[in-house]
């Protein structure tokens, strides 16, 4: 394939799903050149305790836990296709921050991958072609098809599109939940803004009759509404943190992580997006305040003589 015009490099990859029957889960086993400079440096950064000094595998946190549950602490025995065992030492665990991606991953030298999956010497799982000029891609694809009619060629764009589809479906679901929440919020706001209860009106009337100025009443209303909306914001924040990180997001988690039953369970890495938080804050608290203050101001600045009737 290197002979095809426009192809810069050809890299064979060795990987596969290893089914661990005792736990009923799949691991994604990926072969890398651990001792290749480029790889080991990036790997180092992703590890909890960066030291790759002997031959072995680097595993995700979920994999590590499953190993431990099955009494494999230092190493793991892979069952090869002929039934014999292959022992591989655990030499590193991925950092928790990469959990979402690395949880079910096992990285090991490609020779070991080939041995465990019983791959022939000059075989690979797939082949990555690097094509610097995008415009040449279609003609290269057709040439590959000519040479290897049974091959399947996937471009980076194809991958992107398929991810896009998955996330469109998922984000669509979240979007609809989000829209429902927003809608509810605005119904409440509308209800508040379209008029205070007679009880609230009366209270404003009493205060005014007792010598409060409009400003005094609004300051008090503001204070009250701020406490209500700010504590609602805090409660919502704490509940959602609790839901996601303590309860580990039941229901939503399955939607997000797909066919997770077959994969090792994972813990959600803790992130707090302050940009998002401030958007939520500024969409809720000030709007609620306005929805209280404006009608209060209307009532307070009109005649309130009903209180003495």
């Amino acid at each position: 394939m290197l002979d095809i015009n426009g192809v810069q490099s050809v890299i064979p990859r060795y990987w596969g799903y290893y089914y661990f029957a005792n736990a009923g889960v799949n691991f994604s086993v990926v072969g890398v050149d651990i001792y290749d400079k480029a790889y080991s440096k990036t790997l180092d950064n992703l590890l909890q305790t960066p030291k790759l000094d002997k031959e072995g595998m680097v595993v995700g946190k979920g994999v590590r836990e499953i190993f431990n549950q099955n009494y494999y602490n230092e190493y793991f025995n892979f069952v090869k296709s002929d039934g014999s065992l292959k022992r591989v030492d655990v030499i590193g665990v991925f950092d928790t921050n990469t959990n979402l991606e690395s949880n079910d991953m096992i990285f090991m030298p490609k020779e070991l991958v080939k041995e465990i999956f019983d791959m022939q010497t000059n075989y690979a799982t797939d082949i990555v072609l690097e094509v610097p000029n995008k415009n040449e891609i279609p003609s290269i694809i057709s040439k590959i098809k000519q040479i290897y009619p049974d091959s399947r060629v996937i471009t980076q764009d194809d991958i992107r599109v398929s991810y896009q589809n998955i996330f469109d479906y998922k984000s669509g679901l979240f979007l609809s939940l989000f829209v429902i929440a927003i809608f509810t919020f605005f119904i409440i706001i509308y209800d508040r803004a379209s008029g205070l209860s007679s009880h609230e009106k009366r209270e404003i009337g009493i205060l005014k009759a007792l010598g409060w100025r409009i400003d005094d009443i609004l300051a008090w209303k503001f204070y009250e509404a701020f406490i209500i909306s700010f504590s609602a914001f805090l409660i919502a924040l704490i509940t959602s943190l609790f839901y996601v990180y303590i309860l580990q997001a039941p229901l939503l988690r399955d939607i997000f992580s797909g066919y997770s039953i077959l994969k090792p369970s994972f813990e959600l890495p803790f992130t707090l997006d302050f940009g998002m938080l401030s958007i939520i804050f500024f969409l809720s608290v000030p709007i609620y305040l306005a929805a209280i203050i404006i009608p209060s101001w209307k009532i307070a600045s009109s005649d309130v003589d009903e209180v003495i009737r």
């Binding site: 205060l207 009759a209 007792l210 010598g211 100025r213 005649d303 003495i308 009737r309």
Partner: protein, 218 residues
């Protein structure tokens, strides 16, 4: 001290709630506004306190044209000079006795120690010291009535306005109220009471009765 001069109050539907009202009240007088329900008593009180404005005519209190005061100044005027006693008590239910009593002074810049002092004196005078921190909705009718009077006195007003003060009280509590009223009059307060309760009409310390009917003074 209080003067109504050619006062008319017309509501949106061309209804004359008050028609050419003229009267004068001197400092320290106790005046009854008498008349059937709907005759315009509350409307007079609200004009007097600056809670609403006459359609025409003048309301003058302490040489001030209440009818021409901007809203905020009317509030300050009430805070300074007027104590209100409402028919429906109009206490703020979720606040304690003490909080209700000091409500009129919360926006004022009076020192807290002074407000406290006044409040304690009133709690004592009306025998509700023990109830200081109780929510007003848990009080009996008589106790609530005393909180209302205490609240009307916290700003040490010169004028007390009471609208149907005994309408929700039984005979005994109404008599008590009349005693409080007498004491206030003896302290030199100017008092205007709107009522159609017969208990008031043969009291010997009443200075003037203004008899209303359908928006006019008879």
């Amino acid at each position: 001290m209080i003067t109504f001069k050619n006062v008319n109050k017309i509501f949106a539907n061309d209804f004359y709630a008050l028609k050419d009202i003229n009267f004068h009240i001197k400092q320290g007088e106790l005046v009854l506004l008498k008349g059937a329900s709907g005759s315009g008593k509350s409307t007079i009180l609200s004009l007097l306190a600056g809670l609403s404005k006459p359609s025409s005519g003048e309301v003058v209190v302490f040489n001030k044209h209440i009818s021409k005061l901007p809203d905020d100044f009317a509030s300050l005027f009430r805070r300074e000079h007027i104590g209100f006693i409402f028919q429906k008590f109009n206490l703020i239910e979720n606040l304690s006795v003490k909080e209700n009593i000091i409500t009129p002074l919360i926006p004022s810049n009076l020192e807290e120690s002074i407000i406290d002092q006044r409040c304690e004196a009133l709690l004592k005078r009306f025998d509700i010291e023990e109830k200081r921190d109780v929510l007003v909705k848990k009080l009996s009718g008589g106790e609530q009535q005393r909180v209302v009077i205490a609240r009307a006195l916290i700003n040490e007003p010169r004028i007390i306005i009471a609208d149907e003060p005994t309408a929700n009280l039984d005979e005994k509590l109404s008599q008590d109220f009349i005693l409080y009223l007498k004491a206030l009059k003896e302290e030199g307060k100017t008092i205007i009471v709107a009522t159609h309760d017969n208990l008031f009409f043969d009291l010997d310390f009443i200075d003037k009765i203004i008899q209303m009917k359908k928006g006019v003074i008879l």
